[in-house]
């Protein structure tokens, strides 16, 4: 398999925790500009896969390449984030004691060293970017409120907004619609499709309506490796997929 023209390339990746193989010989390729949905039962290794890509977990074996040439196993979280991989956690994680606006300001693309941050003053361009993102995630009227006061769904949106502020090339979005109403879920699908126009995206989600809404290629993980891959209809007709979902 050629790595060129891929944004993410995983080959033969395995990782064990205390002898338990959470990821088992996983191979997954994402083309530049592609959006992919990943499904799979609880404990399939979806979040662990993201941990590996973002440098939180080191794989025991296998190759992990970003943008065709960068070996991600040699870099740590901050470096990987600076290369352009953004991540939304499964449990929405925002800076609770800061305002919505400050959350976005800390995420905005820019220098990441201490002294510039110490003497930083918000520029007009930055203020405009923050305004734009607040519009997209519909939290403009709450910009001065503490993030702790947001509902679960709003936190999910704020975290997606922080991803946008970071402006990565590849977005890893873990369960973005957990805790959202149906209307919000639809809205999120629209937002992600919008983002996918000029970014590569991996979305992990259990909500099949949402996955259908996205209308992209689906990968089903099970016990740490790929069980089935294709359109949602193809994957959900796959006997083995039906079995792992029903046989739980």
């Amino acid at each position: 398999m050629s790595k060129s023209n891929t944004i993410l390339y995983l080959d033969g990746v395995s990782v064990s925790f205390d002898g338990f193989r959470a990821i088992n010989n996983l191979s997954l390729v994402l083309d530049k500009g592609e959006m992919r949905a990943i499904i799979g039962p609880n404990g399939a290794g979806k979040t662990t896969m993201m941990d590996i890509v973002t440098g939180k977990t080191r794989p025991d074996e296998g190759e992990v390449f970003f943008d065709g040439q960068v070996d991600l196993t040699r870099h740590d979280e901050a470096e990987i984030a600076m290369m352009g991989i953004g991540r939304k956690f499964q449990k929405p994680t925002v800076f609770e004691s800061h305002t919505i606006e400050d959350n976005l300001m800390l995420a905005l693309k820019g220098p990441r060293s201490i002294f510039p941050a110490l003497f930083h003053r918000r520029s007009a361009a930055e203020a405009r970017q923050i305004d734009d993102i607040l519009g997209i995630i519909r939290l403009g009227d709450k910009r001065h409120e503490q993030a702790a006061n947001l509902s679960h769904g709003q936190k999910q949106w704020l975290e997606i907004g922080m991803l946008l502020a970071q402006d990565p090339k590849l977005l890893l979005v873990d369960e973005p619609v957990a805790g959202m109403t149906d209307a919000e879920t639809e809205e999120t699908a629209r937002l992600l499709k919008d983002i996918a126009r000029d970014h590569s995206v991996i979305v992990v989600e259990h909500d099949m309506h949402f996955v259908r809404e996205l209308g992209v290629k689906v990968t089903c993980l099970h016990e740490g490796s790929v069980l089935s891959e294709g359109t949602l209809d193809f994957v959900s007709a796959d006997e083995r997929v039906v079995e792992v979902y029903l046989g739980r």
Partner: protein, 411 residues
């Protein structure tokens, strides 16, 4: 922008008031000691000047701890070590100022070195006859130790209780080292019998007043610097690291550097506090490295309210005033009282005095606002305030009840 914030309302106004009070005290207290007749009711005796000057040094130490504990969640149980190192640097200068006036009359060697049969001054005592050199050391030694310690600790991601334990180990190791006579720092007697500072008699009323004023001004400056740091984008990052460290990493920030900077600045502040403390109490000995000293600092900050800048200062002043009074009346019970205070504060006032004050003020304001709204509603004849359309419940109901910002682990 900074000046704009400085004169703004709310918490920022509290900072401005604190700085104003400290600067005013720096002028008024010395005047009341030096320019008022001892028979006057306004006279402040010299021992009070020295005692409050000492408290101000403790307050500066508590503020230093607040920067790392309150704003970055690093519970350092070793800040007493930075304080003591700053104190030793100042003590070494003061020792060399004694010159040939010591008991043994040696113009170069301090008394304890003559006593221990030193033939010449150890190399690390060179330069301490100059005040400027000692002043640089006061900043550099605690800063460098904190930098090296933090470099390794934060890089290997030691956090929480483990970090607290190794900071205790650090101060304990220094305690043992400074107890040794062959370290060249006066062993368990430490450094004492100081005569002059910058050519002025350390015992003189005017010098004591000047040291008091220096402590007050330095504390005011530290309040300003801490406030400026905390209000900057870096300060917001510091709190972000406290609340969700891994989130900051995945945004590309190096959380270890964020912590390292605050830890180093904080250690320098603690060193300055120690340097101002030593000439006012007239002695520095290894007891200052005692692990329990560092724990006491944590109690001061907790009592006043961590993460509030002003709180730890108030806590340090109140607890130490209480200690002075208590050790006069019931000396053997002081430690129990201190322990009881810590338990009481943790259980009853988790946000300290300042936190309690704020929530009390907040409630009062909310009540006032509510009654205003009610009045207005009654006038217009609106039956009930329109509420926002309710969101449908989340699929995991437990997740909705986050009301208070709490540190959380990312997953």
């Amino acid at each position: 922008m900074i000046t704009g914030r400085f004169f703004a309302a709310g918490a920022d106004r509290r900072i401005a008031i604190t700085i104003f009070i400290l600067l005013a005290a720096a002028i008024i207290v010395p005047l009341l000691n030096l320019a008022v007749s001892p028979t006057s009711a306004f006279y402040v005796p010299a021992y009070i000047v020295a005692l409050t000057g000492k408290y101000l040094c403790y307050a500066l130490l508590a503020l230093a701890l607040d920067l790392v504990w309150g704003y970055c969640g690093i519970l350092s149980l070793g800040h007493g070590a930075f304080f003591a190192l700053g104190g030793y640097a100042m003590g070494m200068y003061l020792m060399r100022q004694i010159g040939s006036r010591g008991v043994y009359g040696n113009p170069i060697l301090p008394d304890f070195m003559v006593f221990l049969n030193y033939k010449e001054l150890p190399w690390f005592w060179y330069g301490f006859d100059h005040f400027w050199f000692a002043a640089i050391t006061v900043l550099a030694v605690p800063g460098l130790l904190a930098f090296i310690f933090g470099w390794f600790a934060f890089r290997s991601r030691v956090t929480g209780v483990y970090l607290s334990i190794i900071t205790q180990a650090m101060t304990y190791a220094l305690l043992l080292a400074f107890f040794r006579n062959d370290m060249g720092f006066g062993g368990n007697n430490g450094l004492t019998d100081f005569k002059d500072i910058l050519g002025f008699n350390v015992q003189a009323d005017a010098t004591r007043s000047a040291l008091f004023a220096a402590s007050a001004v330095m504390l005011a400056l530290a309040v300003f610097v801490t406030w400026a740091i905390v209000g900057s984008k870096y300060g917001k990052l510091l709190m972000a690291v406290r609340d969700a460290e891994s989130r900051t990493r995945f945004l590309g920030w190096r959380a270890e550097n964020v912590k390292l900077f605050a830890f180093t600045v904080s250690a320098v502040m603690a060193g300055i506090a120690g340097a101002l403390y030593v000439p006012q109490v007239g002695i520095i000995n290894p007891g200052e490295f005692e692990p329990s000293n560092s724990i006491e600092v944590v109690i001061w900050a907790a009592v006043g309210g961590r993460g509030t800048i002003v709180g730890p200062i108030i806590g340090a002043l109140l607890v130490n005033a209480g200690k002075s009074w208590f050790t006069g009346v019931l000396p053997e019970l002081w430690l129990f009282a201190l322990g009881g205070l810590f338990v009481a504060v943790t259980l009853l006032l988790p946000k300290g005095i300042i936190g309690m004050w704020d929530s009390w003020r907040g409630n009062a304001r909310a009540l006032r606002a509510a009654s205003v709204v009610e009045e207005a509603a009654a006038k217009v004849g609106v039956a009930s305030a329109t509420s926002k359309p309710a969101r449908s419940p989340a699929r995991n109901p437990g997740e909705w009840s986050w009301s208070d910002p709490e540190p959380q682990a990312a997953e």
